[in-house]
């Protein structure tokens, strides 16, 4: 997976996760809020309904109590039983009286008076003013000492339709204190429902439950044994509101229960959850649509952002590839301040350093190769000459030319010494012997136009010096300093030890050097193609520097037509640490 793809994936995953969580969280919080607010509102509304039910029940209860102790009622009963002889006219009088006591016809359905002596119920309703032969199992209230503050839920006391009613009943006593009957006041279930329980919409429904959980009022008039447990599966006898899931269809509903301590009734409100969150569902679709739009936008933006982030990395990778191919001129650019700038700077610096190191290595390798070639060349030339000269020397001796033989012998010794690679050091005495051999050869060449002068202390003779220390200097004086037109050319070599240092002077009275020649001799390497070369002097100086470092000095004093003097000093050492 490329870096760019990773960035895109990361952006998409993080953003989409965040958006999804946000949308879902918002939806659920909104749902929860709506449910909570609705539950609160539903509960408050049901509390109000319950308070109104309680109020109506209280009014009916108080009306019943008030009637039961009303002296007028006793008078009406007495009159019916005694004056009218329990005839129909008397019953109508009682019915009229009861009807006259109904001061809340919109609430009170009917008033009933049960007379125990005649076993009759006289009703305030004209169409069924009297019920004879009362069955106490059907009219429970007649057989009781009244009903307390909790109303009796019963079927209607008569008529064709067996409707549910709520009824209060109280015993009626005569002036003598004997119970003559029972007065009852009823409220029709339908009256109560349409007055207080009709929600007005199909998604919400209220049920009034009696103290045992039987439905005693609902949209559909409740039948017998209609227990609430057949409707919902929650504890109905508690004051609570909760979300329940239907056993039948799995749909959610909000159920609220409000209980009355007065009547013992429980008001159950059931509201369809789907209707409640219908608007939220639309919002959920809108959220989903927004999510898809956001995904598309997110892909575009993520692509752009990934490109932007990947660009400096790509430049860096390109530069690395170029460097890998050997293009050390490759460099990268980045905006200042960020991590990529630091990375690029480090990379550029590293490439520059590598480039310099490689150049240095290449130079060193060139130098090494050149040195090796030169060394090999030096090695071959003397051997070739040595072998040839040995042959010539023996020919000269055979042919009787002793002088030539001696010259060749000196030259061969010189060559032998130069070819001896066993050690880089020799004593000064040995080195002077090489100089003398060399001078012997050169005197033959220059017909003795120069002379040598040696002033060497014994202590200096025993000091170890780098091999061929003096020969190059003497050679330089002979070849470039000596004036062949003169016979008084003198080369003086002095050496002594002072203060732990070996002091050597090689002085000639020759032509001397110009400044240019002096600089070439001191600093330039040999130019083998030219006659004049300072390789000997340069090599001597360089070798001393390499061997002794800061503990040596090499000075060249020269004056045109006056001569040249080499002043050398370094640590005097008579013990050879490295064998000759």
């Amino acid at each position: 997976m490329t870096f760019r793809l990773r960035i895109m994936t990361a952006i998409l995953v993080v953003t989409l996760s965040g958006l999804s969580v946000f949308f879902f969280f918002t939806y659920y919080v909104a749902t929860d809020l709506v449910e909570s607010n609705y539950a609160k509102s539903l509960t408050e509304s049901m509390q109000l309904r319950m308070e109104q039910i309680d109020g109506d029940m209280r009014n009916v209860y108080q009306k019943t109590v008030s009637l039961s102790v009303q002296p007028e009622l006793i008078g009406v009963v007495d009159a019916y039983l005694k004056e009218y002889g329990q005839n129909a006219e008397g019953a109508l009088k009682v019915s009229d009286y009861l009807r006259s006591q109904n001061d809340s016809p919109d609430l009170i359905d009917a008033l009933f008076l049960y007379l125990s002596e005649t076993d009759q119920i006289i009703c305030s309703q004209e169409y069924r003013d009297i019920i004879e032969g009362v069955d106490s199992s059907q009219y429970i209230w007649t057989a009781k000492e009244g009903i307390g503050i909790k109303p009796l839920v019963s079927s209607d006391t008569g008529g064709d339709e067996m409707n549910t009613i709520y009824l209060y009943a109280k015993p009626v006593y005569s002036a003598e204190g004997e119970q003559v009957g029972t007065i009852a006041v009823s409220i029709s279930e339908r009256t109560m429902y349409y007055k207080l329980l009709d929600a007005g919409n199909l998604s919400e429904e209220y049920f009034l439950l009696d103290g045992e959980g039987y439905i005693c009022s609902a949209r559909q008039s409740p039948g017998a044994d209609n227990h609430v447990s057949g409707l919902i599966d929650i504890p109905w006898d508690e004051y609570r509101t909760e979300v329940v899931i239907s056993r039948d269809n799995g749909e959610k509903s909000i159920c609220a229960m409000v209980k009355s301590s007065f009547t013992g009734f429980t008001l159950l409100g059931i509201s369809e959850h789907a209707a409640l969150v219908a608007d939220l569902k639309q919002t959920q679709w809108l959220f989903t649509l927004m999510l898809f739009v956001m995904i598309i936008l997110e892909v575009v933006f993520a692509n752009k952002i990934a490109d932007m982030l990947n660009k400096p990395l790509k430049r860096l990778i390109d530069a690395m590839k170029r460097v890998g191919r050997g293009d050390f001129a490759a460099r990268t650019e980045a905006d200042q301040g960020d991590e990529f700038f630091q990375l690029n700077s480090q990379f550029n610096g590293m490439v520059t350093q590598i480039d310099e190191l490689i150049s240095q290595v290449v130079d060193e390798q060139n130098h090494a190769r050149q040195s090796e070639l030169r060394a090999l060349q030096y090695q071959i030339k003397p051997h070739f000459m040595y072998n040839t000269l040995n042959s010539i020397k023996y020919m000269a001796i055979i042919q009787g030319n002793e002088r030539v033989g001696k010259q060749l012998s000196a030259f061969i010794e010189l060559l032998e010494a130069s070819l001896n690679k066993e050690s880089d050091f020799s004593t000064l005495d040995f080195d002077l012997q090489l100089v003398k051999d060399y001078v012997s050869l050169q005197k033959y060449r220059y017909m003795g136009c120069f002379s040598m002068e040696y002033n060497i202390s014994d202590e200096a003779k025993n000091c170890y010096v780098p091999r061929f220390l003096l020969q190059p200097l003497v050679e330089n004086s002979i070849l470039h300093g000596m004036d062949t037109k003169r016979n008084d050319n003198l080369i003086k070599i002095k050496a002594n030890v002072s203060g732990g240092m070996l002091h050597i002077e090689v002085d000639d009275n020759g032509k001397g050097m110009t400044d240019e020649q002096k600089q070439k001799v001191l600093h330039q390497e040999a130019d083998t193609k030219r006659q004049f070369n300072g390789i000997g002097v340069f090599n001597t100086r360089e070798r001393l520097r390499l061997f002794y470092g800061q503990n040596m000095s090499f000075e060249l004093q020269t004056e045109l037509n006056k001569g040249t003097k080499y002043l050398i000093q370094f640590l005097a050492d008579t013990e050879l640490e490295e064998g000759i």
Partner: protein, 314 residues
């Protein structure tokens, strides 16, 4: 490395799942629940005046604030002793923790005291105390009210002026207390014997008081203490009708009586806030049910006149 990344993805995924489950969980379960609370029954004497309506309002509002259930009944009038008996009996049969009664007959409370004790229901009286049993009482000190009325009439009336009391049912404690303290105080202030103070009892409403006051004015009575605001207003109406300077002092802090004081129709009004009585009654009962003391609670009363009623209302 891959395992580490897998672990991170697993953690992030788990967190997301938990969040979604928590969010999902928010939308289910119980949304509202009310704990079991106290059930208090109340039987008042009547609801025929602002005073009693104030008591009911004070009780209902305080019950809501404390989250207790209140079942309140009252008979048709304050003489309906039998009616009240039925209500008290029914409430004592119901599932209540305490009962507050304003008895129509303060001299016959023993039966329901015993019944309440049998059913372990705590019993209290409000507005009207019991005369035959020791039941905690919440209301004003009616003895103090009688004294305030006597002191005010003594202050306002010339020497040897006739004074009278128009009071309610003679079986009601506040009538007994107010009359006795009034008589005692007027005797100590003016040297009038009990017989010198005209007492008219069993007056319950405006009309009764109006007719009684006319008789008193005709009898040259100069000052009258009416035992309720409704009676005071009846007396004021008769005084106005007969153009009399009858000095009227009454009791109950209700709006029409306050206006009558402001207009000068009633000279003095002893404060008795029905709302405060109702409020204090429920608070006291709740406090007792939760382990507090079961003592009498007296609500302060003061005398309002035309001079200080503005300050009182402010």
């Amino acid at each position: 490395m891959k395992e580490r990344f897998a672990g991170r993805y697993f953690c992030c995924g788990s967190l997301l799942l938990v969040l979604l489950l928590v969010c999902g969980g928010c939308a289910r379960g119980t949304l509202f629940e009310e704990k079991e609370t106290w059930n208090i029954g109340v039987v008042l004497k009547t609801m025929d005046s602002e005073h009693w309506q104030g008591i009911r309002s004070g009780m209902e509002n305080t019950a809501k604030q404390h989250g207790v259930n209140l079942t309140l009944f009252y008979p048709g009038n304050e003489w309906a002793e039998e009616e009240q008996k039925v209500m008290i009996r029914d409430l004592l049969d119901a599932d209540i923790d305490a009962l507050i009664v304003a008895p129509c007959n303060s001299t016959n409370t023993g039966w329901f005291v015993d019944l309440a004790a049998e059913k372990e229901i705590q019993l209290f009286t409000a507005d009207t105390r019991s005369l035959d049993r020791d039941i905690p009482y919440i209301g004003i000190d009616n003895l103090e009210a009688g004294r305030l009325a006597a002191q005010y009439l003594d202050l306002k009336l010339p020497d040897h002026s006739k004074v009278a009391v128009i009071a309610g049912g003679s079986k009601q404690a506040q009538t007994v207390d107010r009359i006795s303290s009034f008589q005692k105080e007027i005797e100590s202030l003016r040297g009038l014997s009990y017989e010198d103070v005209t007492i008219i009892k069993e007056i319950s409403g405006f009309a009764d008081a109006l007719h009684a006051s006319k008789d008193l004015i005709n009898a040259d009575v100069k000052g009258v203490f009416c035992a309720s605001a409704v009676m005071g207003l009846g007396a004021a109406a008769s005084a106005k009708e007969m153009n009399s300077d009858l000095c009227i002092i009454t009791i109950d802090t209700q709006d029409d009586a306050i206006k009558a004081v402001q207009s000068g129709d009633i000279d003095g009004l002893i404060t008795q806030s029905g709302y405060e009585v109702g409020q204090a009654a429920v608070e006291t009962v709740v406090n007792c049910l939760e382990g507090g003391a079961r003592d009498n609670v007296y609500i302060g009363c003061e005398l309002l006149t035309r001079d200080n009623i503005g300050k009182y209302l402010n």
